[in-house]
Symmetry: C2
Amino acid sequence: MAPHGDKSDAADETMVAEAEKRPISTILIVMAMQSEALPVVSKLNLSEDLQSLFPKGVPWVRYRGFYKDLNINLVWPGKDSSLGVDCVGTVPASLVTYASIQALQPDLIINAGTAGGFKAKGACIGDAYVASEVAFCDRRIPIPVFDLYGLGLRQAFSTPNLQKELNLKVGKLSTSDSLHMSTQDEASMVANDAVVKDMEAAAVAYVADLLKVPSVFLKVVIDIKDGEETTAEESSQSFAALERAVTQVIDFINGKSLSDL
Amino acid sequence: MAPHGDKSDAADETMVAEAEKRPISTILIVMAMQSEALPVVSKLNLSEDLQSLFPKGVPWVRYRGFYKDLNINLVWPGKDSSLGVDCVGTVPASLVTYASIQALQPDLIINAGTAGGFKAKGACIGDAYVASEVAFCDRRIPIPVFDLYGLGLRQAFSTPNLQKELNLKVGKLSTSDSLHMSTQDEASMVANDAVVKDMEAAAVAYVADLLKVPSVFLKVVIDIKDGEETTAEESSQSFAALERAVTQVIDFINGKSLSDL
């Protein structure tokens, strides 16, 4: 069956190359917290989709709207139905990303949110980073090859023009399901050469890679992992900076193809 | 809208009560590794579903077949397409569980697999445990309420008759994405009072709870976390013990309703 496989692979590659030249149309923005999502929803004038795409019972929320020439869909995993807090972390992020890709077939995923930054690597509160690559820092499986699987390193979609035009910082991103790092997580992040740390990106990247959707990771530093605690004012400024960064990225994308990014 | 909500809740409860009295028909067995799945596939005479239920590109595998009066579906997340190792851990388990529930609408989920056990809590290699409750031990979010969300404690479906009839051990189960425990994971497991530790159950429980599917967790101890290393022979015996335990549970379930378990 090799010749058939080769033909099919070649056809797939041709389709991907053609898709990269078409103007981007449908965008899926994946966020983890309501406080991150709402400023963007307001700025882009999106409306909540009350006829949910998602199964009965799940708390996942989708906002939608047309902004310039783009069909924008912003999803977040909603509030935990028992506890009332945002469903942060890798499992809800992977599920809502999967279900949204299936329903919407987006051209591009933007996983946007706040993150911790490392001052030793040059990160300051309010900085907007585009991740060059993402990895997990809390999946330690010390068996050959499984160790690499646990790390789950994935390249983000390459966006040299976007980074240059918007003057965004670029760095490596590590993901864990814990807000506070264990000694082992910290060692893994140092090994990953991570500049920023979040709680979802590597899972979103895993799903996007499975389903072959290009994805970019836009993270605004809200606290410094190797420095002093963030003040309430700094937190508030970081959410505003996130909204501005997402809007700038969307404005840049409008009218462009994937290969223009 | 409260009266409508109340009516709808009452109707839901009536449906659940009726469902609990009907004979169980469709079973979804979720496993994480090929070496766990294949002995069960062989014993229950299941066949691989070549017209996959799942989207193109995902490595997830489904085996299906009728066994006695039961429609059995065994799924596992397959092999990582780049690295070739089993897709263990919470993210692939949650995705394949979600997609399988959507496609199959099972009456019951059995998450079965091997696990680590704590000798200090009475676990021995080869012991088959049914989890009373499951929780994460590697999601530390030290903010009030988010800490409980991170823990993600969920009760398993109650199966007193099954436990008694098959003489299964019962204990609490902790899940993490790491094979080897950090000091913090260990402290969390002690706080959880965990007897067994796996890499998927709390994520399967999360998805099953979201979509309201009763779920049980059957784990056979393959290594002792607070003792000596497992030999190759002990590993092999544990996979055989897992197959026997799954078959016994399926035989017990056949012809019964959820409320008989």
